[in-house]
């Protein structure tokens, strides 16, 4: 009886177990076995700890760890602070009519290109901007600097990984900012602010003591995504990070790519270590946030109204605009490169131009673009449907089993892709899935789902339950509530989650290559294999093209809800008159 009533719960659970859990376990299983010496394809059948010994004896391991942690924590913390400050800045009404304040309504359109561009493209653009031989140096050479040749300075790939952290901040700031802006819509900011300001709190203190503590729980999971991504990035570390030794993620990638296949064993151990490092980091991060919350609470209780925070505001607004400008310039410089033939130091602009790469592309890209869009649309739509179904079923039936599946969904983010995909490939082959769009879409889904779920779950849970209760008391069915209350109130976060899913899918390289057995070419497989990070002209062309699809998705996610609201208001007015 109970079973028949809650059957959707069991159906949903079955879908998650078969669709997500089993592939994830298959992916992790092979890596775990290999880390403990068992890799039948290489004729290794017995349990051993040599892979771990090998790993811990590798020179430079502690430096790799330090680099990973410094760049990961620093970038997440700074990006978060700047994003929060950005929200407060956007909301504030400036008395001065500076250029910056006039740009406020256009902030989102400025964020979208950086958000949509692939990580590697931003990194390559930024590296070209900041390098001693880069654009900034070229703009001032030789007339100011007297450099005929670039100096040997470590402005990128510095030994502390600071330029890597900067790259991560620039790329992740728009993500956190946009997520926060969407989440803020669930808090009545204006009323709370005017109330607290009327009680004598400064504008800055009001945000710090009243708004942020309500906002953070709404963006907690996306922040953790940024932390995990920053700790595990290969794309950006390869271009902006130091490389002797590199970050742990890049080192692991190198071992997996070693021509000596026996390196698969220590590489697997390294992959598991990286996963554990991320779990520990998430724990440390959560503890630090708890501590900050306790301190904030104590400060709030003290009743101090706070000063206007002039210096901090100045520093933060400078940093915020610097990050945005650097991000946009990185993309602009790539756009210039995409039309360049030769551009030598110290010329401020290319000496010769060419549209050969764009022309070349026209013959090559239609199929790749079609594959990319199909995969992105399919996997992101599936991910949104699964996430919504998962959340709705949980709303209606509850259940502890779900907590468990919740954590499994995130596992693909915690292990380097290359480690995960070997096992997944074997699993897929065993059930007869050899390449094909379906298999690749499934693989994409495993990486898209966690991002979509993470961007959605906090907003979903924060939805004021009283709306639903009121509707139910007025006789609306649970489906009616679902469609007309939840989905329409959460339209913006839903669309944003979908757009993020699109962007994640577009950027997948290894899943497309390995699961597709090389038979499904996408924009990203073409871009990555061609560029190897070196030909800026190609990176420019493909980077812009790769950014295009997510840009449209983000644009839609930002504009559509506004249009719908306007339309609804219109209808409503007409009904009233």
């Amino acid at each position: 009886m109970r079973f028949s009533k809650s059957w959707p719960k069991w159906v949903m659970l079955a879908i998650l177990v078969i669709g997500i859990l089993l592939p994830v376990l298959a992916g992790l299983g092979e890596t775990t076995w290999a880390a403990f010496g068992i890799l039948p394809a290489l004729g290794k059948y017995s349990f051993s700890l040599t892979a771990w010994q090998h790993l811990f004896q590798l020179p430079g391991l502690t430096t790799s760890l330090r680099l990973t942690l410094v760049s990961g924590f620093l970038s997440t913390a700074v990006a978060l602070i700047l994003a929060l400050f950005g929200c407060a800045w956007l909301h504030g009404r400036s008395t001065k009519h500076s250029v910056l304040s006039k740009l406020k309504p256009f902030t989102a359109p400025f964020l979208v290109p950086i958000l949509a561009a692939p990580h590697a493209a931003v990194a390559i653009g930024l590296a070209f901007l900041l390098a001693p031989s880069g654009w900034l140096a070229r703009l001032f050479s030789p007339w100011l600097t007297a450099w005929q040749l670039p100096p040997d300075w470590a402005t990128v790939q510095d030994l502390w990984g600071l330029s890597l952290a900067l790259g991560l901040i620039i790329k992740e700031l728009p993500f956190l900012w946009l997520i926060s802006l969407v989440a803020l819509k669930q808090i009545n900011v204006s009323r709370q602010l005017s109330l607290s300001q009327s009680m004598g709190y400064s504008y800055a203190s009001s945000w710090y003591k009243i708004i942020f503590p309500q906002l953070y729980p709404l963006i907690r999971l996306p922040v953790l995504v940024v932390l995990v991504y920053s700790l595990s990035t290969v794309d950006m570390a390869q271009i902006l990070g130091p490389n002797n030794p590199p970050t742990l993620a890049l080192a692991t990638m190198r071992w997996f790519n070693d021509a000596n296949v026996a390196m698969l064993l220590p590489a697997s151990a390294a992959a598991l270590s990286l996963g554990m490092l991320m779990v520990v980091s998430v724990f440390l991060w959560e503890m630090s946030i708890k501590l900050i919350m306790v301190i904030t609470k104590a400060l709030t209780r003290s009743g101090s109204r706070g000063r206007p925070w002039k210096l901090a505001t100045k520093v933060l607004s400078t940093a915020l605009s610097a990050c945005l400008i650097l991000g946009l310039l990185s993309l602009a410089v790539l756009a210039i490169w995409s039309l360049t033939w030769r551009w030598s130091f110290p010329d401020a602009l290319p000496a010769s131009w060419s549209y050969a790469y764009w022309q070349n592309l026209v013959t090559n890209w239609p199929l790749a673009l079609l594959h990319s869009i199909t995969l992105a649309l399919g996997s992101s739509a599936l991910a949104v449907v699964l996430s919504v179904a998962w959340l709705e079923v949980q709303d209606r039936y509850g259940g502890h089993l779900y907590r468990l599946t919740f954590w499994f969904i995130y596992l693909p983010l915690l292990v380097p892709q290359i480690a995960f995909l070997y096992g997944l490939k074997i699993g897929f082959l065993r059930i007869g899935l050899n390449g094909g769009m379906g298999a690749v879409m499934w693989a994409h889904l495993l990486f898209v789902l966690p991002y979509v779920m993470l961007s959605l779950v906090d907003s979903w849970r924060a939805l004021d339950k009283r709306y639903v209760q009121v509707a139910e008391s007025l006789g609306t069915s649970s489906w009616g509530c679902f469609w007309r209350i939840k989905l329409s109130l959460l339209l913006q976060p839903l669309l944003l989650a979908w757009a993020i899913g699109m962007a994640v899918s577009i950027s997948q390289y290894l899943p497309t290559l390995m699961i597709g057995a090389g038979k499904i070419e996408s924009l990203t497989t073409e871009a990555i294999s061609l560029a190897s990070g070196a030909d800026r002209r190609l990176v420019g062309v493909y980077g812009l093209l790769q950014a295009l699809v997510p840009m449209l998705a983000y644009g839609l996610a930002l504009l559509l809800p506004r249009l719908i609201t306007l339309k609804m208001r219109d209808n409503h007015m007409r009904e009233l008159s």
Partner: protein, 407 residues
């Protein structure tokens, strides 16, 4: 026909006939077999997994596919890899899943350590080289560069298709007298601090640079052809480390950071950040100029004692779906016309792998009629080819370097 036979004495007739039939039979059986391969291959598509980082190579592969489609009805689809190990992993995963036929990889551009790994794990189809009609143009003697890959015997498991030679690239406007030996390179670096670097040692080009230095500096390079032992490695590599300790402070960023691969190193040369880059392709400078990636004044130079050389091969995985078609493509790559097209500096500029004494006069003419380029050295200018050390030296060099210089 019948009238001619009537005039011949019967015994001679019999001998002649038997010689004729025997000859025809063996030739026919060979040709028959190949015809069978061609018949099987017709209509198939070969998925050629090849590093995709070089646009000119990609274009050449596309061209080859157009040719084989017209000639044999065999299409070629390049699967562009960012690292050859991705194809190895693919085959390995298929083997682990028990998929011993109908694999996704039909052909791999491979050599050195990746070949060794696949050979040791028995992931390759073959031996098949002798079945290819165009194998007759190759020098298949046991010590030839077409039969030994990084000291490992090829055993007919892979077909050579292009020659690779280690060269340095400089901007001749900036460097008038490039250092032609490793000893000279030390003096040069001291005079030009921060202007020299090499790709990271985990990268293939980074290890190649170390191997080149090792061969030049070690007292007896013949030792390197044997597997490295602890003792032989310690004594043979001691001069290398002495030299590296001396040169390291004068490297770019004092030897604390390195370019990730040789393409990035070439970009640094183009940006003016360093003065010397490296490549495994004598045509690298000419190709870089042609594609706008290097300044027109870029030139290659080779150490006066010669430089490391090896051969790029193609191999067929044991479980490939289109084995016959892959053989047809491999055979096409050995066609003298194909090799001449490839050697054309406007196409690839890779030197032919064929034995010049085995090709016809007409073909030789085709090679000598190729256009030349100032940035492309002739074979004579490239000097002697140094043999790749046994693979164990590479592993040990990487380990020892990391131990010493990676903190």
């Amino acid at each position: 026909m019948a009238s001619t036979l009537n005039y011949l004495p019967p015994t001679r007739l019999v001998t002649m006939l038997s010689i004729l039939t025997l000859g025809l039979l063996s030739q026919l059986s060979h040709a028959d077999q190949w015809q069978q391969t061609l018949d099987q291959a017709a209509g198939d598509t070969v998925y050629w997994h090849a590093w995709g980082g070089d646009t000119r190579t990609n274009d050449f592969i596309t061209w080859a596919g157009v040719q084989t489609a017209a000639l044999y009805d065999v299409k070629v689809k390049q699967v562009k890899l960012s690292s050859t190990s991705e194809a190895v992993t693919q085959v390995l995963a298929e083997k682990a899943a028990g998929q011993n036929t109908q694999g996704a990889v039909d052909m791999i551009w491979i050599n050195g350590a990746n070949f060794l790994a696949m050979k040791q794990q028995q992931l390759l189809h073959g031996p098949f080289v002798a079945q290819l009609p165009n194998a007759k143009y190759l020098d298949l003697s046991p010590t030839s560069s077409a039969t030994v890959d990084f000291t490992e015997a090829v055993d007919g498991l892979e077909v050579p298709w292009r020659l690779a030679r280690f060269v340095f690239i400089v901007d001749s406007d900036r460097v008038k007298n490039p250092p032609l030996s490793m000893a000279h390179m030390l003096t040069w670096a001291k005079q030009n601090p921060g202007r020299l670097t090499h790709p990271v040692v985990s990268n293939f080009m980074g290890t190649t640079f170390l191997k080149q230095a090792l061969i030049e500096l070690t007292p007896d390079p013949n030792v390197l052809q044997q597997p490295a032992t602890q003792e032989s490695f310690a004594s043979a590599s001691a001069p290398l480390w002495q030299w590296y300790d001396a040169i390291k402070p004068y490297l770019w960023r004092q030897g604390q950071s390195f370019p990730e691969n040789e393409t990035i190193q070439q970009q640094m040369l183009s940006d003016g950040a360093i003065d010397i880059a490296m490549a495994f392709d004598p045509a690298a400078a000419a190709a870089g100029i042609a594609s706008g990636l290097l300044p027109p004044s870029a030139r290659v130079f080779v150490p006066s004692q010669g430089s490391l050389g090896n051969v790029s091969f193609v191999a067929i995985p044991y479980n490939a779906s289109h084995i016959a078609a892959a053989k047809v493509v491999a055979n096409f790559l050995l066609q003298p016309e194909t090799q001449a097209h490839m050697q054309n500096i406007d196409v690839l500029g890779s030197f032919s792998v064929l034995d010049t004494s085995k090709i016809s006069h007409q073909h030789t003419m085709a090679f000598s009629a190729l256009p030349t380029s100032e940035a492309l050295p002739t074979l004579a200018e490239l000097g002697p080819t140094l043999l790749e050390p046994h693979a164990s030296w590479t592993t040990q060099l990487k380990q020892e370097w990391s131990k010493r210089y990676s903190q």
